[in-house]
Amino acid sequence: MQVTDTTIDNLAHLARLRFNEDEKGSIKKDLQNMIAFVEQLKEIDTTGVEPLLHMSDTENVLRDDVIKGSISREDALKNAPLKDEEFFKVPTVIKK
């Protein structure tokens, strides 16, 4: 498949990244190369093979419904880039 500027734009938006013109060119090439590289997998016949969804040997890992582990609000907001005493703050989502 062909990787276009639109492909990159859409992907960048989905990932909330931004590339300038130069970067876009280089990333387009990278994506194109990667696709070519991983297309190799088409050579393998995987008919009837169940995709491997989980690596660990654990199953039915469920916890009891117990309240624990909460931290203070102070700690919660400690690393916030912008906040007041109670909330995290971001630019308004709904423009007035």
Partner: protein, 478 residues
């Protein structure tokens, strides 16, 4: 609605599960806490944190699935739904969107057209997002992550509803159900039950579905109906005027019962679902599911039938008793002490309910004991106290403190007087007081007897046995 169109409606209801802690970590889900005080590194999506599934939430989801006649999926997974929003700390929501725990199923509703089953598509578990508060600060949106991570079940119907009334009945029934089996408090104002509607219209007889519009922000069952009504009309108007419906997401404006566009659906996100590698799959054994099945109480519709068949209660009474499990429980408990089923139903749906409403109480917190009610019913039935006195004088006191009703009646001098001699005095007094009415009565206005009975009641301070009084009056006024 113009007769040539039919509406097709699908509803997505989110119910917040009443577990003590969140779906994937141990923060409390209690409502109304100070902002950002029920959070942990896991809720905050701190680097390196991992989820772990709450067993109780799984049980609750299965409970609901069984109550809705769904097929319970034995092999369960969670997936990540990836998108960016400030109240979504990890940048993805853990959801069973792709592999729901319950499939199919139905919910029975009753409308003016009769009873029918609303087909469900699925019920699945997912975690809730936090809250974005837009009106607290002019320049900023404030984010509170208390709610982030709370366990939700999403109940999705097939596009199987065809009127706003059906939608109303469906949400009412679903709300009753989740409260009945004690998995959710169904409080739409607080957001523990939320409803989104997908609405489309098409010409009657047309097989193809029309373009659908999603309507959000329906925070009461009435608003669900209003929003759908508005949407249907709006869509019909557009079509009748030669326009086409744009697929979009709209929000209900409760201030004027209209809907407005939030965003066009073309901006639909690619959520890039994939199985969450941090969570082990869980397999439900038939044993486990059966255990949950047997822990389910008799469901409302079944109970209604039972009450009608076993106890001869009317449609209306049975339905009233089953509007809420606590009411039914109270009924169940009371009939352990008496077999006057109809009387119990009358008391519960009548004076007791009235009292509870007036005092902002409920059958969940009622102080009156079933045994006391049974005794009260007995003394009325025995003629010791008449119903009027029992409900207006004794009940209010018994609602505050359980006493032996007969004793209480005696203490308050409210025992019914059935002795004809005693009654005669009052009857004569009433007749004398209302001589002009007597004339009218004798002239033919037989309805006035109620007036005389009422006067005797007053004179006797309610104690006069109305049946005997009536007979006496009739005799005297011949």
């Amino acid at each position: 609605m113009e007769d040539k169109y039919e509406a097709v409606i699908g509803l997505e209801v989110h119910a917040q599960l009443q577990t003590a802690s969140k779906l994937f970590c141990g923060d409390s889900i209690a409502f109304g806490a100070k902002p950002n005080s029920h959070v942990s590194p896991i809720t905050l999506g701190h680097p390196g944190t991992l989820p772990k599934t709450n067993k109780k939430a799984v049980e609750y989801a299965i409970k609901l699935g069984l109550a809705c006649n769904c097929e319970i999926e034995e092999n369960n997974y969670f997936a990540r739904k990836n998108y960016f929003y400030p109240d979504l700390p990890k940048g993805y929501q853990i959801s069973q969107h792709t592999t729901p725990i319950c499939k199919g199923g139905f919910v029975k509703i009753k409308t003016t057209e009769g009873e029918r089953n609303v087909q469900l598509n699925r019920i699945h578990m997912e975690e809730d997002a936090g809250k974005s508060i837009h009106d607290r600060d002019d320049d900023y949106t404030c984010v509170d992550l208390n709610r982030a991570g709370t366990a939700l079940v999403e109940i999705v119907t097939e596009p199987d509803l065809h009127s706003s009334d059906e939608a109303y009945q469906y949400v009412t029934e679903l709300r009753r159900l989740v409260r009945w089996i004690d998995i959710c408090d169904g409080n739409m104002e607080e957001g523990s039950l939320r409803c989104d509607a997908n609405v489309s219209v098409r010409l009657k007889g047309e097989k193809k579905l029309g373009t659908k519009v999603e309507v959000k922000n329906l925070n009461s069952i009435r608003n669900v109906k209003k929003a759908i009504d508005f949407e249907i009309q709006r869509m019909i108007n557009i079509i009748e005027n030669g326009g086409t419906i744009t697929q979009q997401t709209r929000s209900f404006d409760a201030s004027n019962d209209t809907t407005f566009s939030l965003r066009d659906k073309e901006e639909a996100n690619d959520y890039r679902y994939f199985p969450d590698p941090d969570l082990a799959p869980f397999h439900l054994t038939k044993d486990f599911i059966n255990k949950i099945q047997s822990s389910l109480p008799t469901l409302p519709n079944q109970l209604i039938h039972q009450y009608q068949n076993e106890f001869g209660l009317s449609d209306y009474d049975a339905a009233q008793l089953c509007d809420e499990k606590h009411t039914a429980d109270f009924f169940q408990s009371t009939i352990q002490f008496t077999q006057h089923y109809k009387a119990v139903a009358n008391w519960i749906t009548g004076p007791i309910r009235q009292y509870l409403n007036e005092h902002h109480l409920s059958f969940e917190t009622i102080l009156l004991s079933p045994k006391t009610l049974a005794e009260l019913i007995k003394i009325v039935d025995d003629g010791k106290v008449n119903f009027s006195v029992a409900s207006s004088h004794l009940l209010p006191l018994l609602m505050k403190e359980n006493k032996d009703p007969l004793q209480l009646a005696e203490e308050l001098n409210l025992l019914q007087v059935s002795d004809s001699n005693e009654l005669e005095e009052w009857v004569n007094e009433a007749i004398n007081k209302m001589s002009d009415k007597v004339v009218e009565y004798k002239k033919g206005k037989k309805g006035l007897i109620g007036l005389f009975v009422g006067e005797v009641k007053k004179l006797s301070k309610g104690k006069a046995d109305p049946k005997i009084v009536t007979a006496l009056l009739q005799e005297k006024l011949k």
